[in-house]
Amino acid sequence: MPILTKAEAKALLTKVLSYSKAEQCEVNLNCSDSGNLRYARNAVSTSGGISANSLVVSSAFGKKLGTATINEFDDASLEKVVRRAEELAQLAPENPEFMPFLGPQEYGPDSPTFSPATAAVTPKDRADAVQASLKQAMDNKLNAAGFLSNSVGCAALMNSKGLFAYNTSTDVAFNITVRTDDGKGSGYATRGYNDFSKLNAKADTAIAAKKAMSSVTAKAIEPGKYTVILEPTAVAVMLENLFFSLDARQADEGRSFMSKTGGKTKLGEQLVDERVNIYSDPWNPELPTSTWSGDGRPQEKINWIEKGVVKNLYSSRYWAQKTGIKAIPTPGGAIMQGGTKTLEELIKGTEKGILVTRLWYIRTVDPQTLLLTGLTRDGTFYIENGEIKFPVKNFRFNESPVIMLNNLDEIGIAERTVSAESEANYLLPPLRIRDFTFTSLSDAV
């Protein structure tokens, strides 16, 4: 099924709702066409194309809810999926946490999540981009492994209370690891856009290649507490663990780093350095995201941390009603307000420190303190008197993003980046951090 226009989606969902006999009915439509090309050892390895569409029907009688899904769109199938959702709802036990579906919502202007250039990408376009990347690597006698993917999708939501929401989106993701032939140097670059025409695989490969060539003959230095400069990709994997933990129910129940004794939370308290401002904004031109969440709630510009103070937590509608807080959905992206200095200027202003270009295999060690462990990877460098002096061997770290943001030294210019762990896109600055805790050395390149 091709990507549906707003009018087509509206007509389809109206038809589905017309079959409903439930007290309430809600229909979610998702459609996606995607393609990818993977390469390694300077040659293509795997490549494919996937088309996937689904319709989810939720029917409710009182607090009894039934849900059914289908990926066939003829009239008989559409009616069948509605009947099945109703049958399940009629016989289901009451759900004490069931919330009635939302009525019509105001979503504000459309967000620029769709790019015609990305929607038109072909297998040839992908192969052309990868060919440019491979040439860049091979011209420098380096070894490239990378991944390019693109997708176009639509999402729509309609319910019997008059709510209708629609969005189309496109995405392109590119990441590349370049290694020296002797295996002693490795560099990485990653980019994510809504617009394929912004992608410059050759330039990104050149960045990874430069890091690879610069990181050979890495020296071992003692683990310990160091001033570090984290490039935005490294910042992403640290901070997303904080973003993922800003859930109100978890905090209220005492099961989060945001919890305090007696069912209280740290909401409204100074948690990190006062220069830290973290927010989400569906209309940010660099990181546009959907203006509505999966259950139909509007996405707004939300300040999560303002001047170091936690201002909001996200929550289910049930928990928000129970506790009397605003029912803020989880955002589609996160943004940390940047400063005015480039990465190069941050390096220039560092007396002694370590430049970290990528972090890897991040796992929570302690949810109470958000202590994380992981390693540096693909280019780690020692800085002295404002200059990169030499590459250093990789470190394992044990550090909490909360502690890290309290040891904030300087903030650079924010840029769009991608988490190499979750593949989520963010708008984040490079950060200079004092006393970042490295606990051991790794021989890995």
């Binding site: 050892r41 293509v44 390895s45 795997t46 490549s47 494919g48 194309g49 996937a52 809810l65 039934g66 849900t67 059914a68 899904t69 990926n71 399940l88 709802a89 016989l91 289901a92 036990p93 759900n95 004490p96 946490e97 297998p123 192969a127 060919q131 070894n143 492994a145 991944f147 993917s149 990441n175 690891t177 295996g183 490795s186 129940e253 005492g254 919890s259 305090k260 004794t261 007696g262 999966g294 796992r363 929570t364 060690v365 302690d366 949810p367 303190t369 202590l371 462990t373 990877r377 394992r396 044990n398 909490s400 909360v402 502690i403 606990t439 051991s440 790794s442 021989d443 890995a444 390149v445």
Partner: protein, 545 residues
Amino acid sequence: MKRRNFIYLTGVGAAAAMLPAIPVFGKEISPEQALEYIDPAAKKIMSDVALNAARSKGATYTDVRVGRYLNQYVVTREDKVENIVNTESYGIGIRVISNGSWGFAATDKLDKDSIAKAAELAVTIAKENARLLREPVMLAPQKGYGEVSWKAPIEKNTFEVPVKEKVDLLLAVNDAAMKGGADYINSVLFAVNEQKYFASTDGSYIDQDIHRIWPTFYITKIDKVSGKFETRNALSAPTGKGYEYLNARPEDKIQTASGTLYKGRYDMLEDATQAARQVGEKMKAKSVEPGKYDLVLDPSHLWLTIHESCGHPTELDRVLGYEANYAGTSFLTLDKWESKKFNYGSKEVNITADKTEVGSLGAVGYDDEGVKCGKWDVIKDGILVNYQAIRDQAHIVGLNASQGCCYADNWSSVQFQRMANISLQPGKAKLSIADQIKNVEKGIYIVGDGSFSIDQQRYNFQFGGQLYYEIKAGKIVGMLKDVAYQANTQEFWNSCVAICDQSDYRLGGSFFDGKGQPGQVSAVSHGSATARFNKVNVINTARKI
């Protein structure tokens, strides 16, 4: 299956998205549909359509996977059923070689036209990508097996068990935990049935029926005064068994000073009861003094260390660089294997790859490129002797046949190299857990898996666990907390000095081993007996924010 039993409990909490840690694939279906099995004759017809269409467009090799993937999730918390979902994903994936290059396409439309179009698309992609090749794909020869089948040797199909029975079990587990002092508990029963049909131009038509089950829970206890909390996960292992896994007999239990451990089958109710008690003990435990300790590692913990530090670095695709951009490469480079004397571990360390171990998550008759599965040595008396390979890599390590390590997590995913069941073989001399502990002067006995992280070449790792017991002068003297150990893989395995005997051999494993781009998951088991590692670096993970 009594439909009403299912219906009574279905529909509580609609969105499968409420399960953030559990990927949900496919459309929701009734439990009755989950008991259907597609006639292999119908799958053969579909396969032949794809094989013929690809051949007519210029493919020199084609394989076809008709997959029907069924999942069931039963999710509860405290006294509530949060969700019950049955899902089905059914479709066809077609992989070809044309102009020397791989191509792949998949569709869930199983009429002849759609299948033929997908086959043609796979050939088109292969031809488009051929210009990015350095050398043509070289496949190890593989004989065709004709029409054959394989079924997991389960005793009781989990999908046939009434959902009410499963819900009753989970709610009883939750009740036991809450009565035992837990403040919160989430419990989940997750069942998988893969009905896979493979056909290729080699002349194989292979029908397989694979089952897995994973009952698990997560308990939290909070100290209302200090605001501190501790957790304890279930000591169950995800396993390639049927519902019989939940019917533990006395011979399936190992009694230790720390509590009951499970061998082959699992008593979820008993484990939840002891977990509630143990999580309370964790809150009062002493924070560990960092330093060197002799570690005694239970199989419920050690499986993950084996997975990360032996399973992944011996995957040949990592050694060669195919995962360099994502999961990484490997320190076990070809020169180390060629030397025939690379000292991976002590002489106690014998590690095998096995795609046939009964009850393991990775057990199948044939892999996803039609290779009959087997067992082989990877580490022999501490020396690296072999890797894990698939058909297009075999020639690189001088093999004239694949080792059968190819797998795709869905019909819509392209198959590639995945880990076999990689296991540490038990010691030959009689040695019990009590004997292990008795011989340790200053050590920690670790039970259950916790946090885990390892570098991209598999040298440096850090692991936590569920339960940490301090050993002094051969005796457990109390519980510790804030424990994690760090080591270098080669040093760690060379510090292995004793492994319990076969009577203590148990399987652990993962449902969700992630790898590849786009990412795929695979399920794999790792066996071991309780093993001792001397003078390992232990850190204290307590922090203040």
